[in-house]
Symmetry: C2
Subunit: 393 residues, 2 copies
């Protein structure tokens, strides 16, 4: 049994939380993307996703600063996993917080973590959730215990919600499969909204894994997803580990294969979705939504409710992260010497602008796949499905 | 004066052809992208574009096989330059053709060259043009001389047509510039339809260079253009050489910057355009046309008439080249040791499909910019502008 077969400690959790092991596999072993180190639960282990697919390396986070760096520099990425890492980052803050100034220290940690990446809604959501649960406690020891419980709860909930997204979404795939008389269903996805982007299962990939478990034959077109190449590096690797047929394409190719009738449906994830149904996701998603619409192909967005922004009415108001231009002008990969090397693709002086996300307007989204079911990307439908989450505006 | 300041020899050309030097510049020196080696005109010189932007290297083509390889393996690329290289490739065939079997040998050479790349219409057009001019000659010496003349004519004509495209297209830029009260005009382009893709000036870039010469301030958004990165490697380099402001973006970003109002117009080239106005161009062009339409941004396609396919009625019937998947899974760039190295971006086993072009339907094209003027992407307009070229179908 590998170390990642970790079950959250019932001694701390008082039996209140879902306890399950990772579902997804790496080299045949079940893994989650984040877990407390079993010895004392004082440190947190993640997969350093920058090294995939060439190396499978885990990394230990000991401080809030480590968690901040892991999020900001994309050791971890993806809506759900950013949220879970931030939650555990708050837990790590309780370990260094000063007895007499612990509330101040936790607020400082929250501020730091929230600034790691601006677009992902799960980040602030998770930090605030931990904060709101511990802020009423006065004893540091109690705060520590409670922060750990909540971080574990957030991680467990993320995995559970993704599993439920899988159940609802696989029904959509099944309908296409039956309509095609059980011929292979071709699904296009952009970026990585797989289990590597969440704690387990993934959002966009969960329906594919659930369909596989139901005996439905799928094939996934994987957009390489420039500039960070999450598709080429992570989604293909993840699907290969799970034995799901897949083909890598450039981000440019999606429209063409839709025109050729080679895509049955599109499923993507999202980093933030307004309560009106506008979807911020990895840059380029909007172009695929336009192509899907032009070719009458369903365009689905899969998300746990933690990704909804209940305060923003318009997608255009979602803050869009701008990352260094160097992520476009240089790239790293495996050299012939089996070392990871960085090469420059352009002239030294080439100026690049690197927007990380774009916003797909609700009008281009066929439906949202949430943990509670499939709904239209409309305010009324979203509020009706999540009356307990939405805030009056 | 560098060797590329070549003027086609009046001794051979009998003063019949336009003789002008390259317009575009490399390190301050005028260059064309292809020219006969001045000593005896028996060999042809090209720029090996695979090495740009890291190295400016020229290559000598001595045989038809060299020309075939240069086209197929993309030492040269782009509609007009593929045509000119193929024309000179036919000239090279006359040098090795057997006296008694020269027509047979030339037909063989034509067959070889035409198969180098399937989508570019200028390729077959140029080969057939040389062939039709020499097939009636019986003397090999006359065939050689005539083939050289026609190849030079095709190259000169390509440059002249591109210059005229520039004149017509710059008027469109000027209109936007005046409407913006002489604020900088933002133009998005995909791939490289610059002077590197033609003999000189370029198609999509010609209006930008002409606008610059007319004192109009432009800024170009350059799509990197995966997988071959013609935008990142060639267009940025070319624009930098000419002192045109430019910013590199991922192919994914175009829709987002259009939504933000940061694009005034789109100009792209084409490898083949049907006489009904459907446009085959580098994969991903269709996605930009969709985004332009969704944001009410004009989408122009610049082309010399040699790119029109007068026989195809439907863009869907244009053959789309499929290149090796390895162009997606691996990439080369400049290492820290200043050597050009190839690195692998994916797992070793990742399967990739690499379509090189897509088709933008005429309905998404605002207008075509040709050497004779700006016309609608419609059969009636195209035929009215080119009554001498179109064939009755």
């Amino acid at each position: 049994m590998g170390k990642a077969w970790f079950t959250y400690g019932p001694d701390l959790l008082e039996g209140k939380f879902l306890v399950f092991r990772g579902y997804m596999k790496v080299n045949g072993h079940h893994y989650r993307t984040i877990w407390p180190v079993p010895d004392s639960y004082e440190r947190i282990e993640i997969i350093d996703q920058r090294q995939l697919p060439h190396r499978f390396v885990t990394e230990t986070l000991s401080t809030t600063g480590d968690a901040y760096t892991a999020i900001k520099d994309m050791h971890v990425r993806g809506a759900g996993l950013i949220g879970a890492t931030a939650a555990f980052g708050m837990y790590l803050a309780t370990q260094t917080a000063r007895e007499k100034h612990c509330h101040y220290d936790l607020l400082q940690a929250a501020e730091l973590l929230k600034n790691a990446r601006p677009t992902a809604h799960n980040l602030a959501w998770a930090v605030d959730r931990v904060l709101s649960e511990v802020i009423s406690c006065s004893e540091l020891e109690e705060i520590r215990k409670r922060a750990f419980e909540i971080a574990c709860l957030i991680a467990d909930e993320d995995a559970r919600f993704c599993r439920q997204i899988g159940e609802h979404g696989s029904e959509l795939i099944k309908q296409v499969w039956l309509k095609k008389e059980k011929q292979q269903v071709n699904i296009l996805t952009h970026c990585n909204a797989g289990w590597l982007a969440f704690v387990d299962y993934g959002s966009a990939t969960a329906p594919i894994y659930a369909a596989r478990d139901a005996g439905i034959d799928t094939h996934v077109w994987v957009d390489e997803t420039r500039p960070w190449n999450q598709g080429a590096k992570l989604t293909t690797w993840e699907l290969e580990q799970e034995g799901i047929a897949n083909t890598l394409i450039t981000d440019n190719a999606g429209g063409h294969i839709m025109q050729r009738g080679e895509v049955d449906l599109v499923i993507v994830g999202t980093d933030r979705t307004t309560h009106t149904g506008d979807v911020a996701n990895k840059i380029g998603t909007y172009l695929k939504a336009l192509a899907a619409r032009d070719n009458n192909i369903p365009f689905y967005v899969a998300l746990p409710s933690s990704t909804f922004d209940w305060k923003l009415d318009r997608g255009i108001d979602i803050p869009i992260e701008q990352r260094p231009g160097k992520e476009i002008t240089s790239i790293d990969g495996l050299s012939e010497n089996d070392t990871i090397e960085t090469v420059r693709l352009t002239s030294a002086g080439t100026k690049a602008v690197n927007y990380s996300f774009d916003v797909t307007p609700a009008r281009l989204v066929t439906a949202l796949i949430t943990e509670r079911g499939v709904i239209k990307a409309e305010k009324s439908a979203i509020h009706a499905m999540f009356p307990d989450c939405c805030v009056s505006t």
